[in-house]
Amino acid sequence: MLFRNSIVAGDVDKTINTTKKLLTMGVTPNKILDLVSEAMDEVGYRFESNIYFVSDVLLSADAVNSCLEIVKPYFISSEKSDIKIVIGTIQGDIHCLGKNIVKTFLMAKGYSVLDLGEDVPPEKFVTEAKNFGAEVIAISSLMTTTRNFIENVIKIVRENFKEKAPKIVIGGASVTQEFSDKIGADKYCKGPEDMHKYLKLALR
């Protein structure tokens, strides 16, 4: 409970201490990841319910990252990380806040996430997805001016993958369900929790 609360409260020091303590007590890294996931469920719930705001989520994300840094070396292989995702902010946009929150949340849920950064050209999303063996391309965008680039990612994916094309998930302030439908994205997600729910249904 202490561990979970430290993440929900966004307390990095406590999270580091309790993570170490759990490991010395013999709790497995997978179990720790489960606890991280539970904590982030609560953070997601609080955010959706307007109990938490962006600054709260960012601090919780920091706490998660500090925990993941500690448990990462313990993972040899994990059945939880079989779904691979490349994520990035689309070309023409340098906003990273939403993308980083989603990335941390998904990592806390056990996905393997490759962060391509910001201002990512459409071609790079596709090339990196191929190289990484990603089942999902997650595209973030805050500016309406980048919409053509998002559409281009989908075109390139359709041209390059005849079978087993990665799912295209889009999110961010500039996109909507209508836009997603129009360009043929697989899913528009309002936030990380929404994306996790979709991935559980679509890929597991």
Binding site: S55, L58, G92, C96, L97, D119, T145, R147, T176
Partner: protein, 348 residues
């Protein structure tokens, strides 16, 4: 028939104009403006003549009533000695935070906007607009908002986390940001602009809690509007940039705001009841769905709803809920429909 400028002035004076004025939201969008004349986006900030010519051409081609133009938070780091990158076909961006710690913020010196070429260029383009077409259309100069500028100076994540962990840091960064914005606002007034536009996305309801807004953001916004009123005979426009409902009670009580520019997230008939019959409301039309993706029938439905909700007796400026890039056909439809439905007395 009134000129565009007279139409807006009439709304500001509490009179009923011939038509509900329209502001199309595209002239503050560098990508739209410069693409319209086949130029690169960075020219919006770096070539006053091209920026002026592009905005004038858009105005002449579409015939709306208010031009929004001016500064983006992205370029403010230059006022503090920060390095902003301008690349072909890309929006400017700051390479690294200008300030790492509170000590650096305390030592910060703000350059005069006149001394920084990119600020000088934007001011020149505003002056050209005022001098050339300011007698026929309302020209509004955008300063950017305090939280938006502060987050560019120290990094968005750092700034937002500090809201919970280090309020002293937030207070110092927002103080110098606010001072810089006031200086820019004064320069905008000096070139003859009568409408000061203050948008602040980083203090919107999607980012701040109501208590953070009340305690930290609202006093800074209030200070800005007060300073602008002291600096000249101007109208002020505040754009809280979305997710307004949780903040409405606080927003309503900010003094010295003449126009509230709201997004489509709020129902304009509700806003009219909350803000009363005398406040000027602006915005209301959904840019992401309707103006970018919708057809003219959908635009008509939405324009009708905004006029019915808040504009039957004046005090309304139709506009997208936020600035952005609108497809040309929909931009044309939006203005034509606004003219059709917005003729006073309105029958909608």
């Amino acid at each position: 028939m009134m000129t565009s400028k007279e139409r807006v002035e009439s709304v500001m004076a509490g009179e009923i104009p011939d038509f509900v004025p329209v502001e199309p939201g595209v002239t503050l969008e560098p990508n739209f403006v410069m693409k319209y004349i086949g130029e690169d986006v960075d020219q919006y900030f770096r070539n006053s003549k091209k920026c002026f010519m592009a905005i004038k051409k858009i105005y002449k081609d579409f015939n709306f009533d208010m031009i929004l133009a001016g500064f983006s938070a992205l370029i403010y780091p230059e006022l503090f000695g920060g390095k902003v990158c301008y690349k072909k076909n890309k929006m400017p961006h700051v390479e690294k935070p200008v300030f790492k710690g509170i000590e650096e913020v305390e030592k910060a010196e703000i350059k005069s906007p006149d001394e920084v070429p990119v600020f000088k260029s934007v001011l020149e383009s505003l002056k050209m607009l005022v001098d050339d077409i300011g007698n026929e259309v309302a020209v509004s100069g955008c300063t950017s908002g305090t939280f938006s500028v502060a987050s560019q100076l120290v990094g968005v994540e750092r700034f937002l986390k500090s809201l919970r962990t280090d309020l002293e840091f937030v207070s110092k960064v927002t103080k110098i940001s606010g001072e810089a914005i006031v200086e820019v606002g004064k320069k905008i007034i000096d070139v003859g602009v009568k409408y000061i536009y203050y948008p602040d996305a980083i203090s919107s309801g999607s980012i701040l809690s109501p208590s953070q807004y009340e305690q930290v953001a609202k006093p800074l916004h209030s200070m800005f509007f007060k300073k602008m009123k002291e600096a000249g005979d101007v109208y002020t426009i505040y754009h809280p940039c979305g997710s307004e409902y949780p903040l409405l009670c606080e927003i309503k009580n900010i003094n010295n705001v003449d126009v509230f520019h709201f997004s489509e997230n709020v129902d304009f008939s509700v806003l009219r009841k909350i803000f009363g019959p005398t406040k000027v409301l602006m915005g209301g039309v959904d840019i992401k769905r309707t103006l970018c993706l919708g057809n003219s029938a959908e635009i008509e439905t939405e324009v009708r709803k905004v006029i019915t909700g808040a504009g039957k007796y004046g005090r309304l400026i139709l506009a997208p809920g936020c600035s952005g890039e609108i497809p040309i056909n929909n931009l044309r439809s939006f203005i034509e429909i606004s003219r059709k439905l917005g003729k006073y007395p309105v029958v909608v």
